[in-house]
Symmetry: C2
Subunit: 311 residues, 2 copies
């Protein structure tokens, strides 16, 4: 019969290996040295290997001890984080840390998160935006609860995450009011020799649009690839070029960036994803967000022809 290992012993071992000696650790733990000495001996006996080697009147880690300490470091770092974040106040229960890929239109994000905030008045929301890759690693180490992104989670890093589609929209092309009006007439041929601002070079949207342009035999000069969708729209607002944005948020785009829809890029969609850590499949917020997204989908994801637009 093999007994379970005693994690308190392992904790003592960790304290000693950090303090450098049993004597120092005993002070930190409010115990006497002989107690700790005995406990560690028991752990060594259970493991069948020495953790420490006596060097002079000092204890030094054995090879095995050194390896074990690395695991202990990780383990008890988590334990301390657990106690720090959950002892005392209860805000951690009501704080939702959401990562937002900077390629996402902010008005869409608002649309997704607003109902959640409104439904439960004492939720604290923390938003962090950045590139999907950065945010994914944050998600993996529990610094984030959710991640909203325009690209599905690639598991090239072997992180355990779930990816749910929460929205889909056709892409429209926008330009300043008078400019858009000119281009609407002969869309999409009118785009020829126009200037254009696109999202990041590696984004699926950017690639899809470039493919579409090629397919339509349109020759446009792409003046810039911009990772941040807000910045891209700001460029467009300044008249630097035509820019794409989801049809789904055309009203927002029109009013806040003073532009008009020229037309719709046929057969090009942008999808949006909610990425959650594997463990959290039954999380309250995520499920609510998914439900809401699914509801919205049926009513709002309607393709629009350029003729129905106005400004």
């Amino acid at each position: 019969m093999i007994t379970n290992i005693n994690y308190n012993h392992f904790y003592y071992f960790w304290m000693v290996s950090n303090a450098g000696s049993i004597a120092k650790a005993s002070k930190a733990l409010h115990l006497t040295p002989q107690t700790i000495s005995a406990q560690i001996s028991m752990l060594e006996q259970r493991l069948g290997k020495q953790l420490f080697i006596r060097k002079g009147r000092q204890l030094v880690l054995s090879d095995y001890g050194r390896v074990s300490k690395q695991y202990a470091d990780d383990m008890f770092a988590i334990a301390e984080e657990w106690l720090e974040t959950t002892q005392g106040n209860d805000t951690y229960l009501k704080t939702l840390k959401v990562g937002i890929s900077d390629a996402l239109p902010k008005s869409l994000v608002t649309r997704w998160l607003a109902p959640i905030i409104n439904s439960d008045s004492n939720i604290k929301l923390t938003c962090i935006d950045g590139k999907q890759e950065e945010l994914l690693s944050q998600l993996a180490i529990h610094k984030l609860d959710l991640l909203l992104s325009d690209t599905p989670a690639d598991n090239s890093y072997n992180l355990k995450v779930f990816c749910h589609e929460i929205g889909k929209s056709n892409i429209g092309l926008y330009a300043r009011h008078h400019h858009a009006r000119e281009l609407q007439a002969d869309f999409p041929q009118s785009l020829n020799n126009q200037r254009m601002v696109l999202p990041g070079k590696d984004s699926p949207t950017s690639r899809a649009i470039e493919y579409w342009l090629n397919e339509q035999h349109l020759n446009v000069s792409i003046v810039s690839h911009v990772d941040d969708s807000a910045l891209m729209k700001a460029f467009g607002k300044q008249g630097l070029g035509i820019f794409p944005a989801p049809i789904l948020i055309r009203d927002d785009v029109k009013t806040s960036h003073e532009v008009s829809l020229i037309g719709q890029v046929s057969n090009v969609y942008q999808s949006y994803y909610l990425i959650t850590p594997e463990r959290m499949v039954s999380d309250t917020f995520s499920t609510r967000l998914l439900e809401q997204a699914r509801m919205g989908e049926s009513t709002e994801n309607s393709a629009v022809s350029p003729s129905t637009t106005d400004d």
Copy 2:
């Protein structure tokens, strides 16, 4: 006086939350239900919060319990990995898991690792190659001990790693024997209108060479960007184009790929890095590798002019 928390209690809590009930956990732990029940009550008392809520005759996790379980999952996953890898045989002590960025010339890697293997006959070496980004995340979760790469660790993911330069070399351009001989004469002007194969688009080497070509007013057609350095060289061997490789390994390149050095790209260097987890600064292998790299540096990192080459 606040007592330390009892990690064995936490372990019982984890077992119960996994098993779904105290009854099932008690079987797995070879204990009676009342024991576990009492221990968990003690833990709850110590924490000042309920972990479970009675729902019928079942226990369900409270909000606080759910959060705590996530920490427990992480903690004891590490603990189990610790026991799995260190119990039983002692090979873990002698197994060095090295990640190798696929952009690295394999002959350089061999050169670095060979002396280590030879010096200690019972070392087991495990090599894993892939993109630096993938390997970095592996390093962070202890799946790798070291990482050899041609790009320094960018800490855009907030992983705790150390980065040491272990080598540096000028870049040379290579082509098939007869082709190289033709081009040597008027190098670098002779490169005009030649075809070229380069490493990955985002690699510093690739960028540096493209910049250099521009600077020299050379117009070459880049037929391909290849992430894997071996594949790039294979392309070059097939005569698809001129390709770059470190001067440091010119002899290897010449013999194994049946090509000759055309000339050296002035002022373009490639550096090589050893990336280690923060915890492992005093690791035996790493220090030895660093020492050896430093020794090699003084003798081997000599720039070579194209005139001194032969084939």
